[in-house]
């Protein structure tokens, strides 16, 4: 187990370093910088601006300085929003995105699992077919479309829920619904397939043969074993929540990380883009790291093979 952990943490740190390096040099490769715009700035001012942000030093020195900063959670100053550091922006915006993500995560987990298990139990009956049809429809609709339609229907037409902004629980309902539809549909398919797979295994037949009641077979043998593929879906789900939040936060005017990401791209605030990318990647890699460990705990064969 220890060697497995070591190996995984090595890959984790290597990936993070690769991300930081690639992103850093890509951002530096963009021609021009945010100080060069329509208004001509005197040369001296430009020079002192470069000096202030450390942009006058050689590229490699800047890179090392950036790496050193990351260790202290210092992602540098924002180039557009004066007096604000990227770390401050993240600290302010992340809790919002986190709450939205957490609600979506549990809602889609709930719907995905229950619909998936239900349609596996009702295999090829009308319930299963309906769920299958619904999930293929949901998978075919872009989430920004779904979010806009929900907003139009429930807020503009029916005035049941707030149109936008992020103030009370009622404000979070529509964004959460819009964001969770797609992962719920995916997960329902995934759970159904893996459950049917488990149900056709020999040990289930043995359990039937020895007269175990159906309820017990499902609860004791099937559910636990059909969770493994769901675990594999957690990282893609977190990635989806992240990118989905770009769109949903924009439609519902939620001041989260996604909004900042889009805003910083549009204003060419390179240090904020860089900081947010590094932050996002760190979170995702961390999730992947935890999932890998969970896998090893649930499936002992894996850690023996990988170690």
């Amino acid at each position: 187990m220890l060697s497995y952990l070591l190996k995984k943490s090595f890959i984790f740190s290597l990936s993070l370093l690769a991300v930081v390096t690639i992103t850093f040099f890509m951002m530096k490769a963009i021609p021009g910088d945010p100080f060069i715009n329509e208004i001509a700035i005197p040369k001296e001012v430009l020079k002192s601006l470069y000096k202030h942000y450390g942009l006058d030093k050689p590229l490699f020195v800047q890179y090392l300085k950036y790496l050193k900063g990351i260790i202290h959670f210092d992602l540098g100053p924002s180039l557009v929003y004066q007096g604000r550091s990227v770390t401050q922006i993240i600290l302010k915006a992340f809790p919002v995105t986190f709450v939205l993500g957490l609600q979506t995560f549990f809602l889609s987990l709930f719907w995905g699992l229950s619909l998936g298990i239900y349609s596996a139990l009702k295999k090829a009956k009308w319930q299963d077919n309906t769920i299958g049809l619904l999930s293929s429809i949901v998978i075919s609709i872009p989430n920004f479309l779904l979010a806009s339609l929900l907003q139009y229907l429930f807020s503009v037409k029916l005035s049941l829920l707030p149109v936008a902004r992020w103030e009370s629980f009622a404000h979070t309902i529509l964004p959460t619904l819009a964001l969770s539809a797609l992962p719920a549909a995916y997960m329902a398919r995934l759970v159904k397939t893996s459950m049917l797979d488990v149900l056709s295994q020999d040990y289930i037949r043995t359990a039937y043969a020895k007269g175990l009641p159906f309820r017990k077979i499902i609860l004791k043998h099937t559910l636990k074993n059909s969770f493994l593929p769901v675990l594999g879906y957690i990282t893609p789900l977190i990635t989806y929540l992240m990118t989905g939040s770009f769109v949903v936060e924009r439609i519902f005017a939620i001041p989260g990380l996604g909004q900042w990401m889009i805003a910083s791209i549009q204003s060419r605030d390179y240090s904020t883009i860089l900081g947010l990318v590094v932050f996002y990647c760190a979170i995702l890699l961390l999730v992947q790291f935890v999932v890998d460990i969970l896998y090893a705990i649930l499936d002992p064969r894996l850690r023996r093979r990988e170690a």
């Binding site: 990936s15 293929s136 920004f144 139009y152 990635t239 990118t243 791209i265």
Partner: protein, 299 residues
Amino acid sequence: MNDLYDPLDKKQLLDVIEETHHKSAWQRFVSSQTGMIGLILLSILLFFTLFGPYLTSFTHLDINLSNINKRPGMTHWFGTDDLGRDLFTRLWMGARISLFVGIGAAFIDLVVGVLYGSLSALFGRKVDEIMMRFSDVLYAVPHILMMILFITVFGNGLFSIMLALTLAGWINMARIVRSKLLEVKERDFVQAALVFGSSKRRIILKHLIPNSVGIIITTVTYSIPSAIFTESFLSFLGLGLHPPAASWGILISEGIDALQYYPWRLVFPAIILSLTIYAFNAIGDALRDAFDPQRRHAL
């Protein structure tokens, strides 16, 4: 006794076996309901993509300010937008862009992924290890961030967006091809062919390629809709193509703004986009089941 080991006979026999395998995969596809629905839908969509823009007397850029936001009717079948442009024409011109980007991206994924995956699988050992670690590290970077960075650096032209879409797509293909090849390599019939003295070339051409074609076609079919999706997503965020180009993402995001008063501006592009995605996914599902009957029996 000699006839029994006649190389020609053996070759013919193998060909017959492989042919029946493919025939039945095709037959299984044709007999599946979802697959046929998807195929018919896609043919209709392709027909309009090719000929739709010529069915009207407008081009997708004709501005007519005395004719803005017209309801769908006899002259403008899908209505007009806020600059009086004919939506029917714009929609099918948009289909050209979206399908071109989607299919182009899927094709690049295919070429790069198959090359990378099969090289990794065929060389094996150290080369395989290094190639797979490299793609693992790349895969760990969130795809959408890579695309956004790429587009920020290289601009949002048609080809830059198409390349951005393939940045991560090929890794998936490479992984699938590699694991399929590794699996087939260990199967009994390949071992048997080795024992019979088949050359490496023959094994690759006659066993490895035919046995992995199914999963490759299926993966390509799935990657087209996901590329179309991502393109529309980027357009919605303002990071994709810019108006007056008419990709579906642009039409839908313009339609969302007009939803309250001119709903048809959203309804038509949204339905067509969703139908296209549905068609590709349905064909993908049917292909997957057709090439892998065991899976279908399990379901």
